[in-house]
Amino acid sequence: MSDVQSVTDVVAVVLLLLGAFLCLTAGLGLVRFPDVLTRMHAGTKPQVLGVLLIMIGAAFRLQGWSATWMLLLVAVFQMLTAPVSAHMISRVAYRRRHVRRDRLLVDELRTGEAADRLYRGDEPADAPPEEPATALLENRRDEGTLPSS
């Protein structure tokens, strides 16, 4: 009986430590990654897996069906909501131009005519452009009000 107890304890400890380590790497990613989009990767994937592992470990350790059901609900809602919040934040970040374009290999959302010629780094959309004269020229060209002389 006590053997079984110690085996489940070991499994629970391994799962809890592994989950805690994955949550730690999520925090590390937030510090080390260069921009919002890459940071949201760190905030969703290792973190969701870490929470799942902690839930499984806790289910082993707690041993009681009512606690297990609660942990299952936490896991399900974590997997349903984490992608949605990551998507909302990264979508806003992209539209506000919080993108390190120098770190992008390709950007198929903005190609050809729609390519962003004024903003190249991580700048919010309402920041003043680095070269106001060029920005004004580009803006007029986009609107078609520039005389073709």
Binding site: F21, L22, T25, A26, L28, G29, R32, F33, P34, L37, T38, M40, H41, A42, T44, K45, P46, V48, L49, G50, L52, W65, S66, A67, W69, M70, L72, L73, M79, L80, A82, P83, V84, A86, H87, S90, R91, Y94, R103, L104, L105, V106, D107, E108, L109
Partner: protein
Amino acid sequence: MSAGVIAEVGPSTAHRLRHQMPLLLWLVLVWNLLWGTWSWANLLSGVAVALGVTLLLPLPPVVGGARLRPVALLRFLGHFVVDLISSGALVAWQTVRPAGIDRSAIITVQLRTDSDLLLTILSESLTLVPGSMVIDLDRERRTIALHILHVRDQADVEQQRDAVLAEEERVVRAFGSPDEIAALGTPPGTEIAGEGRRTP
């Protein structure tokens, strides 16, 4: 109070309730799981709460509904669990390794399915699988825009595009109607005949 609402709105409410049966069952299940113990009182109060929530805070109905294919569903879930674990490990490694991450990419992929429900499932699972996160979904043109963490060259980009299409195929085979499975064979970009399952 709910009886008065039903009498007032009449058959359309009953119709809506039948369409929202899966949602009602899910709410009752969540209520019972939250209480943690099984009893008739929990079941009845769960039904009352679920009815109250769906009547007072109505959502637009999901057009068509889902059909479940057990074998394809198991295949989708198996791939999903493997992807979830490998993506967690991969991203965790990229955060701790000294070199940091390489360059990223934003790609657009032309999808073939035209159903709100399937696109939702696809987007959720794509955000949890390795390296990709959904930024934008153009519902009219059925294109999805993803941010890819860590690509080295153009070959990596093409590989990710193929992975997205494979994931789409697994989702459609698990939850889609026969028409939608047939639409998988059409080359991307062609107009699909008939009504898509989109919310009006």
